[in-house]
Amino acid sequence: MSLVRPIATKELQEIIRDGRLRLLGGIVVILALAALAFGAQQTHRAQEAREHASERAEKQWEGQGEKNPHVAAHYGTHVFAPTSVATAIDPGVTAYLGRSVKIEAHKRNLAAHSAAEDSASFQRMGSFSVSMVLLLLVPLLIIALGHGLWSRERESGTLRQLLSTGVERKSLLFGKAIALFLSIALLLVPAAVLVLGVLWALGGGDASTLMRLALLGLGYCVYFGIFGGLTLYASAASGSSRAALVAMIGAWGLFCLVLPRAATEVASAARPLPSQASLARDVAKSLEVGIDGNLEREAAVEALVEDMLAEEGYSDTGMLVDAATISGVELQAEARWEDSIHDHHMRALSDQMSAQEDFVTLAGFLSPFVAMRSLSAGLCGTDYAHHRHFTEYTEGWRKSLVTMLNKAFADNAGDAGWDYKAGPEVWKNAPAFNYAEPSPTFALQVHLRSVLALALWAFLSLGLALRSAQRVRVT
């Protein structure tokens, strides 16, 4: 095995000298840098827009003047999803998910104003990002550089010459694999340093982002290793370099184009999502007659009011409870009823989306592209799980804001009743919206199946490469 180094050095020399690396690598690096510039610009623009809109919403909320707290809850405010700096690498599904949520009483709104909605239609034709270059084009580069590593030796007769020296086939395999890996690293490491610099400039220097990027780098190394292993296998097992190239391009098409699309289509068919209109209809119906259709809104709210009055110790006080308190409790009871309906429907929707995601991630066991795509978006915080994490926090915050406003009404309205008007002292007491992105561990937990799929692919490709190296035909 001590011969691995000279073998890798010689292979690298050959790859560099024959000009393929310069030509193909140059194209991939230029595309990666263009995608980075594009992604960085988009991320920067999104960050600015978010900061600007957040500031405006905050000013509007605090400067809304005097009004009844429940009326204020109706007017509501907006909160905005954070833009992770890693979006510059992998925008994931963020372009198709809403970036802002309207917060108001009685309603749980879906996130709205996605980048895709705001884009011109031609911009939706395909995403161009660093992750797409890494996921789609780098494997092609690996195939282009590696498909002849065994087969060309056999075709030119150097394999016979090599094996007559008594060198172990395992050493040859590892030498070739290392050379292939180094030739890719030679291109990607400088590009990665540039990516880090850009992310740093975008404000991504915190420990969590760095950890996410480190894991992302590791994930991509494994992903490239899988394609490297499969390419070496095809090169050793195929009858000629051309056959190895055709086989690997076919595998690439299957893994990166056909299976991801098929998995998404099957998932959509198996677990269809309701349209926004039908969801709104179902929610409206449930609000009137309950989830199972047997509980009228009025009766349900009345029961909740009684429970809440009992909780507050007012059940036996009869006429001593003032009207404003009763109104405040009624509002809270209404909110509870509405929340239970919204939660039910949103949970069902979310479960359906998760089931779709689960199905697609299962396809990761058939395609390393699918596994890495899910993991990449997860580590960049741009997958659906991160979006759900944000919307769940937002819903919790909405509930606490509405509760706080209704309580302010119940506690302070007194005889003024619905004429009571609160001022800035109440608006300033609104709970702080302090959303923090989940840790990298969250991403790993959510995408554990993808991690497992990649690990299995890595073992499989290494096993195939080793087996084929032992059996590679000399003539």
């Binding site: 000298r17 007769g157 150097t158 010459q161 007559s164 008594g166 000399v474």
Partner: protein
């Protein structure tokens, strides 16, 4: 004996390529295998290289069974085929260094390798040129240089002078003779009766996988050799 074949049999499916070959080559001996295409010469060499496995019988190098000691036996061998294939983007020196290192000869000084290439007859101004610019004769010389650098005990030559011009062929033969004189055992498969008579100590004629004749090269003249060869070919 450096090389020994005992009842060596090789079948490709139903086709017998070797039928019980018995052969011995000692140190300082050149054994030339003559025969028509398909006679079993290349199969014999490939069996000793361990590239194919015998159907039955034994192929030994330095007393070690090749089948069971494929890597160990290769330490003693240098192999020069009809076309020595090298890496066209590497120079002659780099190719020599690479193949020598893979053969387990590490820490060889560059000057030593240059001397070896010079001894093999490669023109000095080509040593640092990419092998892609070399003629066939020059590549064969790099092959000889590999054998010298590896200090091989056994040279397996598979039609090494085929396609070489007479001058290059003569130079090659002289190099083989030099190595023979240094104690290297040589098994050479060839069609070249003239060169065989020049450099061989013993000559064998193969036909349909069998060694049908074997004699000392010194016992026959060029004319006798041609006659014997043709007699066997016409049977």
């Amino acid at each position: 004996m450096v090389l020994k074949a005992e009842n060596l049999v090789k079948h490709y499916g139903d086709h017998p390529a070797l039928r019980g070959l018995n052969l011995e080559v000692g140190a300082g001996e050149v054994f030339c295998l003559l025969g028509a295409n398909g006679a079993g010469k290349t199969t014999t060499i490939q069996l000793f290289l361990g590239f194919i496995e015998p159907t039955s019988g034994s192929a030994k190098i330095q007393g070690l069974e090749v089948r069971e000691n494929a890597l160990e036996t290769k330490k003693f061998i240098a192999y020069i085929p009809e076309n020595v294939m090298l890496y066209p983007n590497l120079t002659g020196l780099e190719n020599l260094e690479y193949f020598t290192t893979l053969a387990g000869i590490t820490h060889v000084w560059e000057a030593e390798l240059r001397t070896t290439l010079d001894r093999a007859g490669l023109p000095a101004d080509f040593v640092d040129q990419p092998v892609g610019t070399y003629s066939k004769g020059m590549r064969q010389k790099v092959g000889i240089a590999m054998a010298i650098a590896r200090r091989a005990r056994l040279l397996l030559l598979d039609e090494p002078t085929s396609g070489l011009d007479p001058k290059a062929s003569n130079e090659f033969s002289q190099l083989v003779t030099t190595l023979r004189d240094e104690g290297v055992a040589v098994l050479m498969a060839t069609h070249d009766l003239f060169r065989s008579r020049e450099i061989a100590t013993r000559i064998g004629i193969m036909k349909r996988g069998e060694l049908v004749a074997e004699f000392a090269a010194a016992e026959v003249s060029h004319t006798d050799l041609e006659r014997i060869y043709l007699e066997h070919m016409h049977d």
